[in-house]
């Protein structure tokens, strides 16, 4: 078979025709899958059905008996069937979402105007004793004043650092609950999907925000000194562990199902 003079991309990267021939000699599925991740041209070569169809056929011959299986690529089919068994062994999701990959936004409105706005990257937060609760001292940076008497609107949102996904942790409108004479407290029940698995045997989650106010009154309101936010387990009435909180957010923010 005569072959055209190959175009060489760089010093020693295989010409495309050669790469196609090489791909047929790699054989084992794991190496093939890794090769798909090398570059776009390698992806095109190594995802080819003619490499994966024989693997599917020999390891899962039953897949050839379903007509709709032909609608997906052989590579995808192989990956699906190969990882099917491992799902049973998985008792707990692997934590892939770490705190530095999140940004938290908090907006508090009173009488229609914003009175407190803060944004904190996960990397700036330190968990309070290993639980999913974070304290944010205001340090006088954003002089915010709240009147504990009036209605407020609170929105607490978490966004992934790559700006891909967002999840609303709280959307509250109404009277804040007072704790002593210094704190305002907001809470909202969170959805608890039955498919979600974590170490707490039975749980319901609640988003909680505490706003600590200064004693002095400044023209119609009291300055905010500290804000804390966290996730609480409504069965045990304790804050959830940091890892469990992250797993919960991961469930909604990432496609790991």
């Amino acid at each position: 078979m005569a072959m055209p003079q190959p175009r060489r991309q760089a010093r020693s990267s295989p010409p495309w025709e050669v790469l196609r021939l090489i791909s047929e000699f790699v054989g084992d599925p794991k190496s093939l899958a890794v090769a798909c991740c090398v570059s776009k041209s390698w992806h095109a070569v190594f995802t080819s059905d003619h490499l994966w169809t024989p693997l599917c056929r020999s390891l899962f011959p039953s897949s050839t008996h379903n007509a709709t299986a032909a609608a997906v690529s052989s590579r995808h089919l192989f990956q699906l069937l190969h990882t099917a068994a491992s799902r049973r062994r998985r008792t707990r999701s692997q934590l892939l979402l770490h705190l530095p990959r999140l940004i938290f936004f908090l907006d508090v409105f009173q009488r229609g105007a914003p009175v407190l706005s803060l944004a904190r990257a996960g990397s700036e937060l330190v968990s309070h004793r290993g639980v999913f609760r974070f304290e944010v001292p205001m340090n006088g940076e954003e002089p915010a004043a709240l009147d504990s008497g009036d209605d407020v609107r609170v929105a607490w949102t978490v966004v992934t650092a790559e700006w891909r996904e967002a999840f609303g942790l709280m959307e509250f409108e109404g009277q804040a609950r007072a704790v002593g004479n210094r704190e305002m407290w907001f809470s909202e029940k969170l959805p608890y999907p039955s498919a979600f698995c974590c170490s707490e045997a039975e749980a319901g989650f609640e988003a909680q925000i505490f706003i600590e106010l200064a004693d002095e009154v400044h023209g119609g309101g009291r300055t905010v000194e500290k804000v804390s936010f966290g996730l609480m387990n409504t069965k045990t009435w304790r804050y959830v562990k940091e890892e469990d909180g992250l797993l919960y957010l991961q469930y909604f923010l990432m496609d790991t199902k």
């Binding site: 072959m3 020693s12 295989p14 090489i22 991740c37 024989p54 990956q79």
Partner: protein, 173 residues
């Protein structure tokens, strides 16, 4: 006196080889049947042609003795679920020689396989492809990129998606 065939490389150098050596290439065998004994190979450089001739010379001696029945049965049995086309070289001394022959950098190997493919020298094609495939098998993506000087042209999001999709292949279990 062995019949000689003249091979002319892309850069004009001429190489006289014995017929049985040249006939390792099925293409040359077919050409010589109808035409001259001077074969121009414009797409093959001298450097590569020399290496290919070296391989052919070594294998011509071996191929004059046909494969024994037991080794051809072994060849058939070894290709059950994989799609490798290679017939295993049965002579261990020849296998060792082959392994030395392919101790070359990737660039040279690609040149050789392209020439061998053009000339239709099946065993040489298989040998080189197997060698290069071994440099890929079991390696991680970054190692492969370094080995073959490949640029990672995926965006971070694409890479993340690929990593998740293929996470089963990255675990060592």
């Amino acid at each position: 006196m062995a019949k000689m065939i003249k091979l002319v490389s892309g850069d004009g150098a001429e190489f006289e080889v014995e017929e049985e050596v040249a006939f390792q290439s099925k293409i040359i065998k077919d050409i010589v049947a109808d035409a001259d004994d001077v074969i121009p190979l414009p797409t093959v450089s001298s450097k590569v042609l020399i290496q290919v001739i070296e391989y052919c010379r070594k294998h011509a001696a071996v191929n004059s003795f046909p494969l024994s029945p037991s080794s051809s049965a072994a060849a058939a049995a070894s290709s059950s679920s994989s799609i490798s086309y290679s017939k295993p070289v049965s002579d261990p001394a020849l296998r060792a020689w082959d392994n030395e022959f392919v101790k070359l950098n990737n660039s040279s190997l690609f040149d050789i396989v392209i020439a061998a493919n053009y000339l239709d020298i099946e065993e040489l094609v298989d040998l080189v492809l197997e060698t290069v495939a071994d440099r890929i098998k079991g390696k991680q993506a970054q190692e492969i990129r370094r080995q073959f000087n490949i640029e990672n042209d995926f965006t971070p999001e694409e890479e993340e998606a690929l990593r998740r999709e293929n996470s089963w292949a990255f675990q060592n279990n």
